[in-house]
Subunit: 504 residues, 2 copies
């Protein structure tokens, strides 16, 4: 079959973006230190070539020709929409703004690192102020429906509105705040044994085995070690994950691997015919990714990490294997004790280390800040105080330093404002998908109890993964659950799980 | 400093070619098996983008503008020449020929592998016939001075003529054939201890240390393990080498690493201001490489591997370290015995395993075949017989199977005809450079005896490495040695080394 002119151009664009992913993977895994400036330049060159393909008259005319054909398939229609939106977007955003942001974040990230090292927010503050000002201009140029923040979240979660987000957070807070109070008032499960000695090589072997069991295909993937774990796809046939192993703490490497494997399972199971098309590209982020949004992507990683990986049936199936992997180390710990330990909840200051129950408060805090900054109701200089007050209100803890608070995340220094909501959306949507799966296919529960993850992976592939970016997040939700965004299944799950764990 | 329009375009071209190098490195080191088709597509896309930059009207006009300026620097003049030649080349070679070759070598390489596995040249013969026919057409299109073979060698060794090559081979044969006879008639040094057990991790540690000592900078490089060792540059700041370790044979990993480190030292020491310019690009091969030709590149790897790494002074300095790396394994072997063993010469069938003294006969055989095929005096079907006859005449051995003879190299299946001369040119030029260095800077010899490799690296950088592709190979030879290609220093060196080693 010959590729149409449009297909051929998008395939080139896809190759460029996939190659950028490899450049980023390599920069994080093994690139020599001296090469980072050059690597930035290489990525910039490929990005600008990608952008010039999107804005080329050749693409516009091929798109117009194909869009005028009768009997377009759904995939064609959706590709055309995505391309038209991207072209419109790049025409609206002046090149000067893009250059300005690139230059700004290059110095802002350095300033953020220095501020963190010196534990001093004021070193980062002027850069963040410039970033916020730039993002506000960006929002005005791009346009939005209800709130300028939507212009920013759109790149990560198309279709998300600020009213929907506020309603979601209100729903979460209403039920989670009392639950958190009850849980934290109860006696804490012992988890000291998770800090015994777990040699890294054995951790890697176990994590690899379990990632394979839940369905990550190592024939089309690989696992490396990095400071900041991530998943990235160099094509559907080459989806890589990284993790980090701490020999004194089992959870980090183990659940980190399951989390990234969840992301990877998404990318590996998109329909082959969508490879190299606009339906496996994030055209706004110039990023080769088949998952339809950051939130839906996160729904898959959290689902495999938490719903499956932190469940009692999972450990009934794999605890003996874990014990055998570390001979003698956990002989005195029962599977129930282990399960309670890996799910222990407590108030904490650092988002990436937070447990399942408290995690969303870290997200809500950041999203409230971002909305405030973008609408102008909150000043950058007020952030440390606002942060401290909020986290105390939610979780009863207070950061004693900027590094434990407002300086902990890298996102803002990279110009990423608007991505935080997707972490909570992932939790919420993951539970909606899980509830729908169990309801539509009741035998799934038995399969999971027996350590058979293929039926769940099959349901997810059928309903979500294979479609790539064909459907927007809310369309996927409607198709699979018959509903829009709804925190109820997630809240039900948390309530059930933690009242059982803590015997409330 | 703002880049000129020409510089900016070449920098983009350079980024594309450097990225292709990373794609190739990744494909050889750790890419999941399933991804090779997609990887080929990614490389094809970037190559075609690179080619369209070379042939773009924008580049032509920027080049014309800059070439018309007064007071051009030497670097500018040479860049302009290289670009003009590349543009002329790509205009001469029809795109259909390029596509035809790409399609042909894709199937030919598969056929070559099958033929090797089944030890049956006739399976590869029809593909090689097509490749030869295509290369003959290519030579006619590109043009040549004396002989169609020059049109092919030009891509690897610009300026090399067939008369010069024939004269060189005659000179080599006249002195090497009697020397080889005398050496092989003498008693062979014992080398059985090189086949004791050398654990791979310790081999890697030692090879890394020695590569660092001769001047390979690991801050801007890394060492990986692959089946077929190579060196590749992702930029001057990121020059990677690979090697393979055999736990039952010390030489392979050790001297293989020094060889690749020699290539890498070339790439790491080109002048920084040449990075991202046409003087660090092979525009014919669409390959990011700063070394001015395959032959000059090989001169550096052979120089560090053999002239330094297989010398007695080198082992006087490092043998204790080697013994300590493998405790007890070589306690009964003196440094002199070790030195004789690693230099043992014997007739052999496989080029990549051949010793220093017999290596060039393997090259001459292939080059005679290539010239015969391209001029039409030799038929592909006659190759096995011709091969057997020639290798027997040179070395007194005869291949019993095709795999041990005509099927052993991958080059022809990849469409590479014309690169073999550069292996011998490397040996010859390396010795010319070494002789010039020792003559111009006599203290170098003392430094080498003391295990100090910086002065030699300094001389090479000053005279060769820093210039990138500014000078053609014969210009470099003239500048550094005052002469053209001349095998005398190489032959003197071999005669001296092997008569001493074999006490002739």
């Amino acid at each position: 079959m010959t590729a149409t002119p449009l297909k051929a151009q998008i395939a080139r664009l896809s190759d460029l973006l996939n190659v950028i992913n490899l450049l980023n993977w390599d920069a994080s895994t093994g690139m020599p230190n001296g090469a980072s400036l050059q690597r930035g330049q290489q990525i910039a060159t490929l990005s600008s070539l990608a952008q010039s393909i999107i804005l080329s008259p050749e693409l516009a005319s091929a798109l117009a020709d194909e869009a005028a054909l009768p009997n377009l398939t759904l995939h064609q229609q959706r590709s055309h929409q995505a391309l038209q939106q991207a072209i419109a977007h790049y025409k609206k955003v002046p090149a000067s703004l893009v250059v300005e942001q690139a230059q700004l974040v290059a110095v802002a990230e350095v300033a953020w690192r220095q501020a963190r090292e010196q534990n001093n927010f004021s070193l980062f503050q002027p850069y963040l102020e410039k970033i916020v000002a730039l993002k506000r201009r960006f929002a005005e140029v791009v346009g939005y429906e209800n709130h300028p923040y939507e212009a920013l979240t759109h790149e990560y979660e198309p279709g998300l509105t600020v009213p929907a987000l506020k309603a979601l957070f209100a729903q979460l807070q209403a039920r989670l705040l009392p639950l958190v109070k009850r849980v934290h008032a109860a006696p804490k499960p012992d988890n000291t044994f998770l800090h015994r000695h777990f040699p890294v090589d054995q951790q890697r072997a176990l994590s690899t085995k379990l990632a394979g069991k839940i369905g990550y295909d190592f024939q089309r993937g690989r696992l490396d070690t990095t400071t900041h774990p991530f998943e990235i796809s160099i094509t559907r046939e080459d989806v890589r994950i990284t993790t980090r192993f701490n020999p004194q703490f089992l959870n980090a490497g183990l659940f980190g691997t399951l989390h990234e494997a969840g992301h990877a399972i998404y990318e590996q199971n998109v329909a082959p015919e969508l490879s190299g098309t606009a339906l496996t590209l994030d055209l706004f982020g110039l990023y080769a990714v088949a998952g339809t949004s950051y939130g839906v992507h996160e729904s898959q990683s959290r689902l495999w990490e938490n719903r499956v990986g932190r469940s009692l049936p999972f450990w009934h199936n794999h605890y003996a294997e874990l014990q055998a992997t570390f001979p003698g180390v956990l002989d005195d710990v029962s599977v129930e004790q282990f399960h309670r330990a890996i799910n222990r909840s407590e108030p904490s200051l650092i988002r990436v280390e937070a447990d399942e129950l408290t995690y969303d408060f870290h997200v809500m805090l950041r999203v409230e800040i971002e909305m405030g900054l973008i609408e102008g109701s909150l000043k950058v200089s007020d952030l440390p105080a606002f942060w401290a007050e909020k986290i105390q209100a939610y979780l009863g803890v207070k950061p004693t330093t900027d590094t434990l608070g407002v300086l902990q995340d890298i996102h803002w220094s990279k110009g990423m404002i608007g991505s935080f909501p997707t972490y909570t959306l992932g939790n919420v949507m993951g539970s909606q998908f899980m509830a729908a799966a169990l309801q539509q296919q009741p035998s799934l529960a038995t399969a999971l109890e027996q350590g058979n993850y293929l039926p769940l992976k099959g349901w997810l592939t059928e309903n979500i993964l294979q479609h790539g970016r064909t459907y927007l997040p809310h369309e996927l939700l409607q198709r699979t659950t018959g509903k829009g965004l709804d925190a109820t299944p997630y809240l039900d799950y948390l309530e059930q799980k933690f009242t059982a764990l803590y015997q409330l």
